[in-house]
């Protein structure tokens, strides 16, 4: 090996080639080199890197988890809004025949689809089946429950039509109370909207935090390598060359933190899966929960990588320009 080397030395080196002319291959080699050497530099300081990554991945996982929660809540609320039935409680003195007659009359109204009758006896039975109520009902000597009509509007009826129908029912002489949870539904929708905005703000703030963490890490890295950078600049390295390893450092931070935050979320999903299954089973699977889709995972990872690169770019551009005349 050594002999071969000294032979190459004796041969005359090739003439100088034109400067500044980068072949594509050299460009690719430089990028590949930066790509892996920046990873190697992260590995030389495992604790610092791990801590930074932990902070970053938490900052990324929090808004993702919040968003996941919100997405599930939206699904659930969509299902609730589908249940559009109006509960009509009749006056206590209305007997079964009167209730039946009234129900028949309601069925002829244009907006009404179906009308189901729950007699006071059925209502009492339902109450008994709920734990805790049975004893209380023993005390009563009579059935205090009124007859209940459950009026389902036709599928074509919109919210305004249902509200108008509820108003109309309220005016009926036989009716004691009409319950239609429009306000409650509007509130839920407003709360979900607010939470959605909150999640966006939180995500924005935490993304900013991630940007600052990466920027600061890269800034410290640049300071630690100030001498190396100065030498490179003396030898004629342009800003792009000096910046490149730091950009790749940011890229790595973003990518690793993204993967870690997704792992965190998958873990949380796995931990919560069993209790959620129990919960949905107790509701006869009337709703179900879902985890992050593959598409959202990839989007989160891409956003994380972009954040890492951007943070590094800002820090590198700010600090590398020092030490060069105008």
């Amino acid at each position: 090996m050594n002999r071969r080397r000294s032979e190459t030395n004796r041969s005359k080196p090739a003439a100088a080639e034109p400067r500044g002319k980068f072949s594509l291959r050299a460009w690719r080699e430089q990028h590949l080199y930066s790509f892996f050497s920046s990873l190697g530099r992260l590995a030389t300081r495992p604790w610092t890197t791990a801590l930074t990554l932990a902070v970053l991945s938490l900052a990324l996982a929090l808004p993702l988890l919040f968003w996941l929660l919100l997405d599930n809540a939206r699904d659930l609320s969509g299902r609730i809004e589908d249940a559009r039935a109006i509960s009509v409680f009749l006056k206590a003195d209305a007997d079964a025949a009167a209730a039946e007659q009234f129900a028949q009359r309601l069925r002829n109204i244009a907006q009404v689809g179906e009308v189901a009758i729950k007699s006071p006896a059925q209502g009492l039975e339902e109450f008994r089946s709920h734990a805790g109520f049975a004893d209380a009902l023993q005390v009563l000597h009579y059935n205090p429950l009124p007859a209940l009509l459950i009026v389902s509007p036709r599928p074509a009826a919109d919210a305004a039509a249902i509200v108008a129908l509820a108003e109309q029912l309220r005016g009926e002489p036989l009716v004691d109370l009409v319950q239609y949870d429009l306000q409650w539904r509007q509130r839920l929708s407003a709360i979900l909207h607010l939470a959605g905005r909150g999640a966006a703000v939180l995500a924005g703030l935490l993304a900013l935090a991630a940007l600052l963490v990466i920027g600061n890490t890269v800034r410290l890295d640049i300071q630690a390598r100030a001498e190396e950078i100065a030498v490179m600049q003396l030898l004629g390295a342009d800003d792009g060359f000096v910046r490149r390893p730091f950009l790749y450092t940011g890229l790595w931070y973003g990518m690793l933190a993204g993967v870690m935050s997704l792992m965190l979320i998958v873990t949380v999903e796995a931990i919560l899966a069993a209790p959620f299954a129990q919960l949905t089973a107790s509701y006869d699977h009337r709703f179900d929960v879902h985890g992050l889709s593959l598409a959202s995972m990839l989007a989160a990872l891409a956003a994380s990588v972009a954040l890492g690169w951007l943070g590094a770019f800002i820090a590198a551009s700010r600090h590398i320009a020092l030490g060069q005349p105008k």
Partner: protein, 221 residues
């Protein structure tokens, strides 16, 4: 190759480092820059390498008017100049080979070509054995020779050195100076700043003497 026309440099502190300095160094010529410390030797070299800009006057290096070089063009100008520093400025966390290869990496030289030229440069300064050594494990004279190998590996037309023998004993200093003489013989324009007047005179090359930023003598012993 290097031409100064009425060049003045005043730092923002108010210190006037160079005053109406004019001289010309032809292609393949070698000259020493001497004078007391603070006479403006380092400033003059910094102007050649575009580490500083002159306050007034015009500087041409390798046919290029440096006043016309924009900020983005500075790295390219520097890649065309070999620089040797008193404190060698090697990267201590990289091997001798990697240090010397740096200018070639910056120029985008293919890898096989880089290997050949780095070994040729190390051979020239007599350090081929230490190719894989860490610079910190070398003696001061060897470190300086690594610095010289790095300065010449990309075959620059101009080689400048700021007190390259400042940290070396007389024996090593003569050897290092002799190396610069060899580069001149292969056609490189060499400008070496040194306050070691006896050594400079022994070399028998052109000598530029600075005093308080003015050129007070230009002779050949």
């Amino acid at each position: 190759m290097i031409r100064f026309e009425k060049v003045s440099k005043r730092y923002s502190s108010g210190h006037e480092a160079l005053n109406e300095l004019s001289f010309e160094l032809g292609a393949g010529e070698m000259a020493f820059l001497t004078g007391h410390s603070g006479a403006g030797k380092s400033t003059l070299l910094k102007l050649v390498a575009l580490l500083e800009r002159p306050s007034r006057g015009q500087i041409c290096v390798a046919g290029r008017n440096l006043g016309e070089v924009r900020k983005r063009g500075i790295p390219r100008v520097r890649r065309g100049i070999g620089m040797v520093f008193q404190d060698h400025r090697l990267l201590l966390d990289r091997s001798v080979f990697d240090n010397v290869a740096l200018p070639l990496v910056l120029a985008g030289t293919p890898r096989e070509e880089t290997g050949k030229r780095v070994r040729a440069a190390l051979d020239k300064v007599g350090l081929l054995r230490h190719e894989q050594a860490q610079p910190a494990n070398l003696s001061a004279g060897e470190q300086q020779r690594v610095g010289i190998a790095r300065a010449i590996v990309a075959k620059p037309a101009v080689l400048i050195a700021d007190e390259p023998t400042g940290n070396l004993d007389p024996q090593l200093a003569s050897e290092v100076m002799a190396l610069f003489g060899e580069f001149q013989q292969v056609g490189t324009t060499v400008l070496v700043a040194s306050h070691d007047l006896p050594l400079v005179k022994r070399m028998g090359k052109r000598v530029l003497v600075l005093d308080h930023g003015k050129l007070i003598d230009d002779f050949r012993p």
